[in-house]
Amino acid sequence: MPISVVDSEGAMSKRDSVDVNQSERAVVGAKPDASNALFQGLETSVKTLGLASLGTLALVAAHHLGRKQYNRNARMTDYVDGVLQTIGYGHHREQKDSHVAGDARFSRQYNNSAESVCNKEVQINHTGGVVQWISGVADLETNEFAVVGIDSDREIVWQTPLPERVHDILIQPAHLERIGQDGAHVAVMGRRPSEKFWILDASSGKIIHSISAQDNRHYYGHACYSLEGDVLYVTENNTQDFSGIIGVYDVASGYQKISEFASHGIGPHEIVMHTDGDTLVIANGGIKTERASREELNIDSMQPSLAYLNRHDGTLLEQITPEHNQMSVRHLAMHDNGTVVIGIQFQGERHLRVPMVLTHQRGEPEFSALQMPQTDSKGWHRFHHYIASIAVDSERNLVCATSPIGGCAAVFDLTTGLMVGETELPDCAGVTTFSMENKAEQLSEQAAPQFLVSDGQGYLSSIRVERLTDINGTINSDDEQGAPWAAEVEKTHQPYAFDNHLNTLMTVTGRLE
């Protein structure tokens, strides 16, 4: 390409135009020495870098087009951000800082939280109430979240604000003298997928530890303690390949992660400790969930299962799959006799009717479905394909299952396998056993409720079911198994939305600081 050369007067002429290639050739011809070689080397390097850049651009563009298919928010700048993030610059650092800032804000909130953090006028029992139940709560007007301790009169004893919505609440088993601990811990799991869980003191609600997930791990909402209370097992997700993980955390060392096992499925959700003390029972929901949108990515091909693992080395002992591959095994409760009760969330076609509450015992080849009475007209559709939580009263052989979408809680008798009672409770989810030491003194065995159910409208409802009897106390049926039952519900209200899970604490005396 000809270039123009401007003369000393600034004039430009055709004569002054030279071909750059001729010029280059002239230079090469004039100086065949080291500087010539250097020039050649530079030329080759520039060409190489140019070609490499074009090639990189083409490859990244092709990858970006692929990403766009599943992530509409994907941007070309993500690649540069990613590199900056990897080498320690950019908004990754800002995120880390914000976590610290969040913690600091949280601490301040906690220190000031003798009064309500959720801006609600909650009656808090400051005089050392006895915590009976613990639940996650939300103030939906301000979008704030907390955990509350509740006493036997269903009043709030303490509340601890947390920076995100929480899910399961685990109470450390009361063998504390063995591990040299003063009071029981409460493990509070962030809502799936979360990067945090918190350990609170059960009696005061004070935060003892705040645990962060490792790189490439998200917490999946549930955990369980070993029966000795010295180890916490947490359901986690490997964010790189979506495989389910069970994280093992040592209580004595401040909940350091000491190991992890494969959960042998995708999307592990609830985990419970088997009564044998050596076996973990895991609900592998089977659903691959995109983090940002919570969109379910593998509904057609999902493979849920119930997995039994040796808690000491993670060996898979037994794995059971439901009859329909879209019956997501999600929530569990453990009967003292070793029966696992399972709450299903069905992801298949809405018109299909599948059993939503199942049972299983080690060694059985398949699940057993609980049953609806023949006289019932609503069937399993009453739950709208969604069970939020399950609780077992081993003493009375009863199970309670909740469905916020169906707006009901139902009680099943494990002796007959039949549903024996149902109550309408809009937005209900948390359920736990009602049994409590101090209240039992006030209530006769016959009059005590079996379950406590919490809901998003702020109600704590006790449920008691019993077989109908005549004035002599005789069951009104020739067939005792088929005798009708009556359900009694008593509600109290708090100005919160109670979250998905509720747990029962054996007597712990409050000591607010």
Binding site: V83, A138, R191, R330, K378, R382, H384, Q457
Partner: protein, 377 residues
């Protein structure tokens, strides 16, 4: 191949690998940021005025009870009666049309299609009530199996007619929800230019089975509105929670199932528009917006808001609904043919309406938005 070309290839592969590998954490961070943005947008929507010192109304008051009675008597009961009557009208018309030789020509078919649309819009109007006998135990699937994400209705109806051309209403009622109700009727009436004897029989049976189902719901509402809605004393709190959450739910499901997913407004396309086979999506969505308008501009509700110095909330909801109605009127009958800008504008109006309801109306009424029922965990 020259050495520098080979080197360029290697360098390209390496640098692209590094960039692609590093993009993953950035994606996650961005996703987190998006999530946070969504949350903060929900909590503090720019176009929603912040609440200052709002005191919730006393749910046990006579005013609230009067409002709930009005909701039951002027909205819910008439809506169910109307849809049951329209279903009966379709059944009567089908019987008349099929009388001669058991088939229906294109002229009669046009009349049936028009009556079907009246029925479908009546049901869209009644869908503002998302609780009670028509909704219990997923009964609504037998009335309106929508959205039919896997396209089950089309083949299901063909199969059920082929299997039994003399299908009775009782036999059909025992079949799957997929082959019943409004979508089943739409499939037969709009996928054919004339009806065979078997199809004619199906229309008579399906409309009869639907009428019976709707009559039961209408009758239950007429008999016990207090129990079904929750009216009287402490029940008022439950009743007002149910009703306002139900209104909110209609907006959210309309946004999600009837606009966002089928049109791909915020993500990939999924599902289908309501009354897709009939090409009448605008009529169905308009009926829903009309039901929302009746519910949210109810004089008794406006009076409660005025008593609490919240006339602005009533005005804002009214304006948003008027804007939505206008946007719909400007669209073609099949809103898939509307411009993306029109579709998005309607979606955004309804989004703003949900924010006004959640952050302004509900606090004034002391109503808690559904929490666990939308959790998905």
């Amino acid at each position: 191949m020259k050495k520098h070309q080979l080197a360029a290839m290697v360098l390209s592969a390496l640098s692209a690998g590094i960039l692609i590998g590093c993009s993953k954490p950035a994606e996650e961070a961005q996703n987190t940021a998006n999530e946070q943005e969504v949350d903060s947008a929900t909590a503090n929507p720019q176009d929603v005025k912040p609440l200052t010192g709002v005191q919730a109304v006393d749910a046990s008051s006579a005013t609230v009870e009067s409002y709930l009675n009005q909701v039951a008597q002027t909205h819910i009961v008439p809506a169910y009666k109307d849809v049951a009557q329209q279903s009966q009208a379709l059944n009567t018309l089908a019987k008349e049309s099929c009388q001669a030789d058991g088939t229906i020509n294109s002229e009669k078919l046009a009349e049936l299609r028009a009556q079907w649309l009246t029925l479908a819009t009546a049901w869209a109007n009644a869908e503002v009530v998302n609780f009670g006998p028509a909704m219990d135990s997923m009964n609504n699937l037998y009335i309106n199996y929508y959205p039919d994400e896997r396209g089950l209705v089309h083949q299901g109806v063909i199969d059920v007619i082929d299997a039994n051309p003399k299908l009775t209403a009782e036999q059909l009622a025992a079949e799957s929800a997929v082959v019943q109700g409004i979508p089943g009727l739409e499939e037969v009436l709009f996928a054919n230019e004339s009806l065979s004897a078997g199809q004619c029989q199906y229309v008579m049976s399906a409309s009869a089975a639907l009428t019976e189902r709707l009559n039961k719901a209408a009758s239950a509402w007429e008999t016990s509105p207090e129990t079904l809605l929750g009216i009287g004393g402490a029940e008022n709190k439950i009743g007002i929670n149910r009703w306002i959450n139900s209104v909110l739910s209609l907006i959210e499901t309309t946004k999600s199932n009837s606009l966002d997913q089928p049109l791909g407004i915020t993500g990939n396309k999924k599902g289908h528009l309501p009354a897709d086979a009939a090409g009448q999506s605008r009529a169905i969505i308009s009926a829903k917006v009309s039901a929302l308008n009746v519910a949210l501009t109810d004089p008794a509700l406006v009076a409660i808001l005025a008593e609490n110095n919240q006339e602005a909330v009533a005005n804002e909801m009214s304006e948003l609904l008027a804007d939505s109605t206008r946007l719909l009127a400007e669209m073609p009958e099949d809103i898939a043919k509307a411009s993306p800008e029109q579709q998005k504008a309607l979606y955004e109006k309804l989004t703003t309406l949900t924010q006004v309801i959640k952050h302004q109306l509900m606090p004034v009424l002391g109503v808690q938005v559904g929490f666990n029922s939308t959790d998905g965990d």
